[in-house]
């Protein structure tokens, strides 16, 4: 079922008193399509969890509407909405067995015992916990508790599945495993899902689309590829992945190219990347892994080549990271399998190139 947020705003009283308030969610509008998995990604305090809790009904927006499957649920309490949440702290009922935890929602709906047994049994199988039904939650590991929480949420066949940073309490290995399992189960059941996280690799791996939030507002919505390759502003580019920001000057258009002056040399971008003359400060986002470091000094000016000097070199095994001084600027370059491509050290003079096809221009309007 689809979920729609229309101009949702939520304020909280600021901790220091009642004089002023903090806007946690600021005029957010968003449509999530049926069966889609959308991630809300942002730094802590950006309003992503509050947005999720508004969808669940734990928080009431000050203004705006929440529509689930075409029905306005803004004023409905959580228990009257068919949403199911997987909590960051798992929120397993400590006084109930695994079976009773999963059966909780079914018992509230007064389903017959036989149906409850078959549904819970199937669900425990789906999450790989068959045979643990009689256990008490404190006999489970963190990952197992998380599976109980997931089973408990989806056994009720919710319209929308909500995830509130569900993997943040697990260790790194388990996190990756649970991440692909959540994606597998979500896709096999086709449940519309909203997933909150501050971990960008989790968001990239899980999502059909990512919503980047900052200070209560949506900064960008797009597929993981759109977000990474064509960030809408400096915040998004910095938050997702790492980026070099090179100040650029607009020089004009040629036939199918936009011509920029970057670090003293001309860079010709495909015209699709910069359709019109920029109306603010122009910067070029160059991802560090697209920067190539070579021993040979490039001669062809139109290939956007630079002369650089290694300032700092960090060898990390699978990659090497270099800070390279180009004129007054310092570029970060990340080179994969350095053992194969040659290792540089501080002080080396090198050639620097990056493809204008993968560089992305951003415009910061004045004021």
């Amino acid at each position: 079922m689809s979920v729609e947020l229309k101009n949702v705003t939520k304020r909280f009283r600021s901790p220091e008193g009642e004089v002023s308030s903090v806007i946690a969610v600021n005029d957010v509008s968003l449509v999530i399509h049926d069966g889609e998995m959308v991630t809300l990604l942002g730094p802590s305090g950006c309003g992503k969890t509050t947005t999720l809790r508004i969808v669940a009904g734990f928080e009431m927006p000050d203004s705006g509407n929440v529509v689930i499957g075409g029905k306005d649920v803004t004023d409905l309490p959580p228990n009257k909405r068919n949403t199911a949440m997987v909590f960051q702290s798992y929120a397993i009922f400590p006084h109930l067995t695994v079976f009773e935890n999963v059966a909780f929602g079914l018992r509230i709906r007064k389903l017959p015992q036989s149906e409850i047994e078959s549904k819970v049994g199937r669900m425990l199988e789906l999450v790989g916990l068959s045979g643990m039904a009689r256990r008490s939650p404190d006999q489970l590991s963190g990952g197992q508790q998380q599976r109980v929480a997931l089973a408990r949420a989806i056994v009720n066949e919710p319209d929308v599945l909500l995830f509130d940073e569900p993997l943040s309490n697990l260790d790194a290995k388990l996190r990756e495993q649970m991440r692909s399992e959540i994606r597998r189960i979500q896709q096999s059941l086709g449940i519309t899902s909203i997933y909150v996280t501050h971990d960008q690799s989790e968001a990239m791996a899980l999502s059909d689309r990512i919503v980047i939030m900052n200070s209560g507002k949506i900064a960008q919505i797009g597929t993981p590829k759109q977000i990474y390759d064509t960030p809408s502003d400096r915040f998004v580019a910095e938050f997702v992945g790492r980026a070099n920001f090179l100040p650029a000057e607009f020089e004009g258009f040629s036939e199918d190219r936009a011509l920029l002056k970057v670090l003293g040399r001309r860079v010709a971008l495909p015209k699709g990347k910069l359709g019109q003359e920029p109306d603010g400060a122009l910067e070029l986002v160059v991802r560090p892994e697209t920067v190539k470091v070579t021993r040979e000094i490039p001669e062809d000016v139109h290939a956007a080549g630079y002369l650089g000097k290694i300032v700092k070199a960090v060898y990390m095994g699978s990659v090497a990271e270099y800070d390279v001084a180009v004129g007054d600027a310092v570029l970060l370059a990340v080179v994969a399998s350095p053992a194969e491509h040659g290792i540089f050290s501080a002080g080396d003079e090198v050639g620097i190139t990056f493809s204008s096809d993968v560089a992305h221009p951003i415009v910061t309007r004045n004021g």
């Binding site: 806007i23 009257k80 509230i108």
Partner: protein, 575 residues
């Protein structure tokens, strides 16, 4: 995050309020419970106090505020006020000193017999109201064990300030002990280790770290005992004598002895003012200053806070106080089984025969009243704790304040309020079982609320959100999830409500009737007519019932709520 100007936030407060109410109306059970609780608080807490205030202004001789001017011009009333306040201050100070020494010894040293000291510091909580006073008389009175038998002093002037202070400190220091033990346990010993590590001496650690961190807890205990001492009725009635009048006793005598209801009401209003002041300071000023250093991780550190000398000095003090507590209870038991205290100590069951013949009905009545009021008071306390901590509704702060307020109201005020408020339609309750039951419910549920609030704050809110998210309404969430999780608080609320219902006197003395009488009132009658042996026997029966009830309540709560998971989940909270 952006910060907005006050104008923006305040925009349309009415619409906001209306929307909150509209949302509440979508949960009819929650909405109805809130309305019912507010009406109950209004009728059984606010209305009686208002009646006391109004009645105090209706004196025939001194109408209006004249009654207060008249009372305060009387030197006897002025000295009552002074006595009550100075006794409150002295009892609070000494009880806190004793309570702190006990708590510090139990939590911060490795003295032997800790379990025993802990028990001795809790036992006085289940005292019948006159126990302290009767014990003081049996020990120091005209035929007292210590005065006349040991020291050969006859007619030692134990009545008055000294005797009362002694009885009150023994009765009230457990309150300070329990508060300060909790506070000291929550101060992570790693902080003290850190201070030692940074080069402080042990006494510096105590003065610069432990004591400042415990200070808000100490202030809180001081104020609570001040309130309890002001409200104390049983001990001053027996021990104060005519040369040491106190307000709570004077208000009672004004009504029962001089049939002056407006005068008694006015005296009780004078008593109300310092009580409520102390309560407001405690609730809104001291409580906010409490430090929380609970990390959830159990920190095990070797106990090394005190030197060997300090340790044994503390041991000595604790042993002495524990001895006094034992002595207080010992003489009650001895007195109950003695033929004639101080004169003929031979063993007899005569006192119990007497108790059975005159007090049988009062014992039954007391059990019925306590049996009805205890579960209601406990459940109401948990329900209010749940609403206050977890729900958001207009008037939440008012609900919290009014329900906690009833703790600060001296029993004398409440008793007078109830006879004034419920002697005519629509609330015609005088002389009935209902008036006693209602009185006990609304006087003793604040402790349940406090325990419930404290436990609920330890329980991760998302556990209840999960229940609501899975379709459980407020009432299902409360009964299926919240109540089992806060079972320990529920247990202590039940025990407290029962103990208080069994030992109540100050308000109840105004409300008993020929049909419904209480054991405590019977004890009062025995003390008044000088039959200390019978009073002691009554007290022994009362203590026996309380101990038996505590065991039964524990079994029932365990059975009903199935709290076998509790033990494992405690400690680190429910995170």
């Amino acid at each position: 995050m952006e910060t907005t100007s006050p104008e923006l936030t305040a925009s349309n407060p009415f619409r906001r309020f209306a929307r909150r109410v509209a949302r509440l109306a979508k949960e009819p059970v929650l909405f109805a419970s809130i309305l019912v609780i507010f009406s109950l608080l209004a009728v059984f807490i606010i209305y009686p106090i208002v009646m006391v205030l109004l009645k105090s202004l209706t004196s025939a001789e001194h109408p209006g505020l004249e009654v207060y001017r008249n009372l305060l011009s009387s030197s006897y009333v002025r000295s009552s006020l002074y006595n009550s306040l100075s006794m409150g201050a002295a009892a609070a100070f000494l009880s806190c000193v004793v309570g702190f020494l006990f708590a510090y010894a139990v939590t911060r040293t490795d003295i032997p017999f800790k379990g025993f000291f802990n028990l001795m510091a809790i036992v006085p909580i289940i005292s019948p109201p006159f126990l302290g006073a009767v014990s003081v008389l049996l020990l120091f009175g005209s035929n007292g064990l210590i005065t006349s038998k040991l020291l050969g002093i006859y007619n030692y002037p134990i009545y008055g300030f000294k005797g009362l202070l002694f009885a009150q400190v023994v009765t009230f220091f457990p309150v300070a002990y329990l508060t300060l033990k909790g506070v000291l346990e929550s101060i992570s010993p790693t902080l003290e280790d850190a201070a030692l590590d940074l080069g402080s001496s042990r006494s510096q650690v105590f003065r610069k770290v432990t004591l400042p961190l415990a200070l808000p807890g100490i202030a809180s205990a001081l104020l609570v005992i001040f309130i309890e001492s002001l409200a104390d009725f049983g001990n001053p009635l027996v021990l104060a004598g005519s040369n040491f009048p106190t307000l709570s006793v004077q208000a009672y005598l004004q009504i029962t002895g001089m049939y002056d209801l407006p005068g008694g009401a006015a005296l009780s209003v004078i008593l109300l003012i310092p009580s409520i002041t102390a309560f407001v300071v405690q609730k809104y000023w001291v409580e906010k200053r409490k430090y929380v250093t609970v990390t959830g991780k159990p920190t095990n550190t070797a106990i090394k806070g005190v030197s060997t000398t300090t340790k044994w000095v503390l041991f000595g003090v604790c042993a002495f106080i524990a001895g006094v507590v034992l002595l207080f209870y010992g003489v009650i038991f001895a007195g109950a089984f003695a033929k004639l205290w101080g004169i003929d100590p031979s063993f007899t069951l005569r006192n119990f025969d007497y108790v059975w013949s005159v007090g049988r009905e009062a014992i039954m009545d007391t059990l019925i009243i306590a049996g009805i009021s205890t579960p209601i008071s406990g459940l109401l306390g948990m329900a209010i704790a749940f609403l206050v901590v977890r729900k958001n509704f207009p008037g939440k702060k008012a609900m919290d304040f009014i329900s906690m307020l009833s703790f600060a109201l001296p029993g004398t005020v409440v008793g007078i309020g109830y006879i004034l408020a419920f002697n005519k339609r629509p609330f015609m309750l005088t002389g009935t079982l209902a008036i006693l039951v209602l009185n006990f419910i609304f006087r003793y549920f604040p402790v349940g609320i406090q325990a419930g609030v404290a436990t609920l704050r330890q329980v991760d809110a998302s556990i209840e959100e999960a229940a609501s998210n899975l379709g459980a309404g407020t009432e299902k969430t409360f009964t299926k999830v919240t109540l089992p999780l806060i079972a320990p608080a529920f247990f202590s609320a039940l025990v407290f409500a029962f103990v208080r219902a069994m030992t109540a006197i100050s308000a109840a003395v105004f409300l008993v009737s020929a049909d419904w009488n209480l054991m405590t009132v019977q004890i009062l009658n025995q003390v008044n007519s000088g039959r200390l042996g019978a009073a002691a026997a009554f007290s022994v029966v009362l203590i026996g019932i309380i101990v038996a009830a505590m065991i039964i309540i524990r079994l029932v709560v365990d059975k009903l709520l199935g709290i076998r998971y509790q033990a494992r989940f405690q400690g680190g909270g429910y995170k």
